[in-house]
Point group: none
Chain length 431, copies 2
Amino acid sequence: MKAAILGIGTELLTGLVRDYNAYFLAQKLVDKGILPQFILFVPDQMEKIVDALQFIMKEEEVKLVIVSGGLGPTEDDLTREAVAQAFGRSLIFSPEAWDRIQFFYRELRNTEPPENNRRQAFIPQGAEILYNERGTAPGFKLEVNGKSIFVIPGVPREAEFFWSLIEKDLPREEEYFYRSPIFKFCGIGESNLAKEVEPFLRHLPSSFNLAFLPNYGEVWLYVYSSRFSPEEKESALIFLEEVARHLDRFFFSPYGDTLEEAVGNMMKEKGLKLGLAESCTGGLVANRITDIAGSSQYFERGYVVYSNEAKKEDLKVPEEILQEKGAVSEETARFLARGVRHKGKVDLGLGITGIAGPGGGSKEKPVGLVYIALSSEEGVRVQKFHFSGDRLMNKRFASQSALVMIFQYLKEKFGNEFNYHQKLCGFRPSL
Amino acid sequence: MKAAILGIGTELLTGLVRDYNAYFLAQKLVDKGILPQFILFVPDQMEKIVDALQFIMKEEEVKLVIVSGGLGPTEDDLTREAVAQAFGRSLIFSPEAWDRIQFFYRELRNTEPPENNRRQAFIPQGAEILYNERGTAPGFKLEVNGKSIFVIPGVPREAEFFWSLIEKDLPREEEYFYRSPIFKFCGIGESNLAKEVEPFLRHLPSSFNLAFLPNYGEVWLYVYSSRFSPEEKESALIFLEEVARHLDRFFFSPYGDTLEEAVGNMMKEKGLKLGLAESCTGGLVANRITDIAGSSQYFERGYVVYSNEAKKEDLKVPEEILQEKGAVSEETARFLARGVRHKGKVDLGLGITGIAGPGGGSKEKPVGLVYIALSSEEGVRVQKFHFSGDRLMNKRFASQSALVMIFQYLKEKFGNEFNYHQKLCGFRPSL
């Protein structure tokens, strides 16, 4: 089965909004072994939407069409009308859909819906209504000329919800496109990783491609193929496992999908608690750590010590250190890490200080200079970094380096004594 | 003049790479008054590329076509062949193009190009070669049936270079497309905003469209048109200003592009300092505040009081309150806000406590329940929210609501006594 994705919204055509839905849906489709053949974006204009739908309908291979966007309550939301026109159907008012919209407003917003929300209750004749659990706009499904057409809202979190409905509706078929799980490495660059992988390459079947994807200080590795035998697929996975074993100390994805999840799972398993003292990252590390459900089990507290007063009052960085060495110094990072470890009575205290930019730099201490210290029962280790991005990139890379330092500490201390390590082979049921 | 953008590359269709080029090109085209009517992505497959080109060629309005990607040296780079086939041309080897590729390799990589790079020197008959200053692949330009077709590499920094060539080639004409500045509102939903705008709609010329764009608790409003007189454009801008004046208390974009920048600019101008005490948002508010350059001028410190101990030790939330009312309660939010205001000696103390989920909810205190308190010299105001997203969305919406509370406080206290307010009218030189 092949698919097409149609995104509707003038904002996508004017560069106001960077597409997320098509990107998200493409990933999900590929996970199901379905390769999107076309992604199209058109503005909120009747004739453009109709043209695009007619183009897609002519593509024989395409059996699944996902149309996203233009289902809002306002005048410029034309997807309902355009779909009805493209397939020669009328729009019918659905009392059930209107009930749900009213219910949604009363329950969650404690008010009646404005009258213009009634527009959202009109559905093309013969379509199956798909109810929205995250917003007012219902979606719907049509079957036309052997194609299943799903029409869903453009709000990303609503689109994500509708994917869960589409997914249930997909027929079970054989895979014709395969992409391996993504193997994620941290603390090693792309070129070095490639060099380490090279000796293993002869074990990768020629029907498979190898891809490296650098991603904010991580490198992701995977293989993919459009034509492969079961034996070749098995060999490709063995190749990946050999590489992973060889590069074990950089390999974090067995422990979690993201680095923050990986270190979280590792700390949780070992019963360790973490405290943070952030200056230049401004709470970004705490934010990433707490993005993980259950992080309260290992994250005790964080301090965003932006001012010198906060550094002194909350974490006892001595005035002399701030005067003599400066707020951005190895010594300050050490005091921050030790300070939060003692104050929070935690196992791991992490301190970060640096210059995110664009202002605040000097010849001796340029923008991008960051010190990160990790305090544990073994003592304090400090690393100095010099990032060369803009403010947001410097914050991002500093937070990433902080997580890498925690990962490396845990890996050195506990090796592979983690239950999570089993996930390494977990994707291949034969092992 | 209207345009279409065709992105070629299997990675765009499998969700491995999030499109950048079409997003970038769309912005640049709109800046030139040219509206992209279609954006299409197709995989590296001959027939798909040809189908997409034929679809675009049928669209009469489209006079400019930018094709990006698939010009690399490997077997799966098929754009040259597909373009030649779609327009019935043969591919001609260009000795000049090959010279440039060899020169590029010798100069920059100190080596001879591999033989497969010769593929890149084949250009469709009659095309004008566009030389690449940032990579090996030449681009080219074709004129077919009154349309200008630019074919450029997919590597983003090379695509950016080629835009500079395309731009020079554009005819100097009147604006064909106009999009107004984006008017951003917070603290009001899309439907209610639409209701408030309705009485003004008769002032919007019929040649203009009005667009609403909900964006994580904000609503963005703008007008656009593809065919308009100078008088109509002026009227459309007056319409927007009337709307903005009417909805002044929700209208934040005069103060900054993002809500965190807006409240930052407002606090900076009034010399106010902010302190944060976050529980369920886990540092996200601090992170957003510190994403803004210069935020150290108004952001003093933040506490991420994830554990009850941290709430008690750092911000003096009384044990009895935590016992009797709970960590997630109006009272705790008040103590957090007052605590950070006093401890940090700041003008504004903001406290947030809630249940981000997915665990930790109960019947009385469900997931998504969040209390936000703002402490100032006028006293403490608390708002109760009930978000219905997943963990990340609840964090995001809570951080957004916190910023809205700060914005509303500042707006109530100072009205329009801000220099930044002048930006409201700044986009229209006549005012």
